[in-house]
């Protein structure tokens, strides 16, 4: 059991962790989520007694880490997969850690087998991939057969097989009654692995609840409704009708509407009744990722901006227009949650072109062809009739263009 009470850490003027209180219970995998720089690693280091809290305290089984008797036999930790001397064999790395806590050398070979590194045991860890490094770090954490395990971003750099392995390992460790505390910034991964979630942002506690509660509190079904872009008044009309019928209507960035509280057939009926044509009516589920991003959006420290590439802009050949910017989810658009529409600029769905127009209902995949270089005109069909326009297009867009659009 890990218990933090009023944990605060300041580095000079910057507060990395502020008044954090939580408990990590045995017998469950507890996920520790937060954006980059939110204080996850600092908290982990304070749990391990590496950094001293400015105020507050954190204890493991009632003891501060530095006062724990034979700490490495009680607590195992993976902090940084690359924190090994590259010139040392994997086996020697584990051996020196084992000797520190009086663990026999044969245990080293055991854990090497557990993480699947027995074949590279005598190789220098310099040549290890990030995934192999993670496995080595996990091996080090397992060495002392500890009751409390801490993993900082254990799945970074692992292949899908490795991710599955880590997931099952965490679950089985927890099933043995151990305390497992795993940090990550991947909500989707935590939703599959963890039983309990602690979410922090800017060093403060945002949420501390079981995954089940988190899901039921945060994931809601909604419908995306789209009226003809050419007739904005239809959109207003439908909005009013839906609201009147008891639905909640939120405008989305691309002009569509996000409707909650009404089943899809009812929305269709209402649109029909209001004499509004629909270009889209699709069911969606807000993913946990989305809920998590909504929760932490105010606490993100490092946010990218759209790359204008104005410093690299070349003069366009006469008549050619720059390719339209495809908004990328999360880039400079804090309010962007829903998947981007399959195509930009009021075009109809790309289905007639034989392209899979993005899996509906799975908000993660903007699989649409990236604005198919159709700089000549808004409609890809128009292009087929004048193939000479293709010559004026930049080469890169040729590659992304659907074959049959030429």
């Amino acid at each position: 059991m890990i218990e933090a009470v009023g944990l605060t850490k300041r580095y000079g003027a910057k507060t990395a962790v502020y008044n954090l209180s939580f408990q990590v219970r045995p017998g469950a995998v507890t996920g520790f989520l937060g954006p980059n720089g939110s204080g996850k690693s600092t908290t982990m280091r304070m749990i391990l007694g590496l950094d001293n809290p400015t105020s507050g305290q954190v204890t493991i089984g009632g003891f501060p880490y530095r006062k724990l008797p034979n700490a490495p036999r009680q607590v195992g930790a993976l902090l940084d997969a690359k924190a090994v001397h590259g010139g040392r064999h994997a086996r020697n790395h584990l051996l020196c850690l084992a000797q520190l806590s009086g663990i026999p050398a044969r245990r080293v070979d055991e854990v090497l087998g557990v993480v699947g590194l027995q074949d590279v045991a005598k190789r220098r860890s310099k040549g290890f991939s990030l995934g192999m490094g993670q496995r080595l770090g996990i091996a080090a954490a397992l060495l002392g057969d500890p009751q409390v395990l801490l993993f900082d971003e254990p799945v970074n750099g692992l292949d899908p097989e490795g991710i599955l392995w880590v997931r099952n390992l965490m679950k089985s460790l927890a099933a043995e009654g151990r305390t497992v505390f795993v940090s990550s910034h991947l909500m989707s991964e935590m939703a599959l692995t963890a039983d309990h979630l602690i979410v922090i942002g800017r060093g403060q506690l945002l949420s501390d609840m079981s995954v089940k509660d988190f899901i039921s509190a945060n994931s809601a079904d909604f419908a995306r409704v789209r009226t003809p872009d050419t007739e904005p008044q239809q959109r207003e009309k439908l909005s009013a009708a839906l609201t009147e019928a008891g639905g909640q209507v939120l405008p989305e960035q691309d002009g569509a509407l996000r409707v909650t509280g009404l089943p899809l057939p009812r929305i269709s009926d209402l649109a029909h009744g209001a004499d509004v044509r629909l270009w889209e009516l699709s069911p969606h589920q807000a993913s946990l990722e989305e809920a998590y991003m909504r929760m932490t959006q105010g606490a993100v420290d490092y946010r990218s901006t759209i790359d204008q590439r104005s410093g690299l802009q070349q003069e366009m050949p006469p008549g050619a227009m720059p390719p339209p910017q495809m908004p990328v989810a999360g880039q400079g658009q804090p309010g962007w949650y829903a998947p981007p529409p399959p195509q930009q600029g009021g075009q109809p769905f790309a289905m007639p072109q034989g392209q899979p127009a993005g899996p509906y209902g799975a908000p993660a995949a903007p699989a649409a062809p990236a604005a198919p270089g159709s700089t000549g005109g808004p409609n890809p069909y128009a292009q087929a009739a004048q193939p000479s326009a293709a010559a004026a297009q930049p080469a890169a867009s040729d590659l992304t263009k659907p074959e049959d659009a030429r």
Binding site: G49, L50, A71, V75, L95, C96, Q99, L100
Partner: protein, 256 residues
């Protein structure tokens, strides 16, 4: 946490990286080879020396001439032993395993110092014997007054240089920063301060100049140092103690 476990672990660490072998063997080879070369040249020069110079001719000290260069490899050894932990990030794993930071640091230093001492002492004896062989008829023998003290002192001197470097590296953490300060300090600054008459008084209290007095058997003609061979080594030990204390104090209260 038994200190023997930590010592055992540190021994595994030190023997399992290539830099240990490289730096220590470089220190030994450079010291011995350069000592031999300078001994050979000095033997040839004997004929052209003034009587005054012949009077202060110190065959023992000449055979240790390679140490001025060999000690640089020893510095690298000392710095790397400590700063490897920081540059690789291993320090976090180590300190998570040994929360008693004093035990950790001094076990590490003990292992590295013991190894450095064995290599230094062997280097010192080999450098002495091979240097004397080059000097031929002008050589000293181990039985002469003060010679055994000088040869043992040579081993102690090199060891203390390594330990001093470990202390500095424990304070500074970064290998580049530590080497960037120690290298010019021992190779340039100390020599410059010691050769300019205005700063000579200060220069002779620097660790390497004070410590190297232990290797002298015949005092130079214009000897005005206010301390003897063991006094000089004592001054060096003080420097080392300060460096270690600084390293320990910082490690104790610093975030890892």
């Amino acid at each position: 946490m038994a200190a023997t476990q930590v010592v055992q672990s540190e021994w595994t660490k030190i023997r399992s990286v290539a830099s240990t072998v490289w730096t220590l063997s470089l220190a030994a080879v450079v010291t011995v080879a350069l000592g031999m070369l300078i001994s050979l040249l000095s033997a040839d020069e004997w004929a052209t020396m003034s009587p005054r110079e012949r009077l202060s001719f110190d065959p023992t000290f000449i055979s240790f001439a390679g140490m001025s260069l060999g000690q640089l490899a020893m510095i690298v050894f000392g710095v790397l032993v400590v700063s490897n932990e920081y540059s690789t990030g291993m320090i976090r794993t180590s300190l998570a395993a040994v929360p008693q930071r004093g035990t950790f640091l001094f076990s590490k230093l003990a292992v590295a110092t013991a190894l450095a001492f064995v290599v230094s002492l062997a280097t010192s004896f080999v450098a002495f014997f091979l240097g004397q062989a080059m000097l031929g008829e002008h050589s000293a023998s181990l039985g002469d007054a003060g010679v055994l003290r000088a040869v043992l002192g040579g081993g102690l001197y090199m060891t203390l240089i390594a330990v001093f470097s470990m202390g500095v590296a424990a304070m500074l953490r970064s290998p580049m920063l530590s080497l960037g300060i120690l290298m010019p300090f021992f190779f340039l600054i100390s020599a410059i301060l010691g050769n300019v008459s205005a700063t000579k008084k200060v220069g002779q209290f620097l660790p390497d100049q004070a410590g190297s007095k232990i290797m002298q058997v015949v005092a130079p003609a214009d000897n005005d140092t206010p301390y003897g061979p063991w006094g000089g080594l004592g001054i060096m030990v003080l420097w080392v103690a300060v460096a270690l204390l600084g390293g320990y104090t910082l490690l104790k209260k610093r975030d890892a």
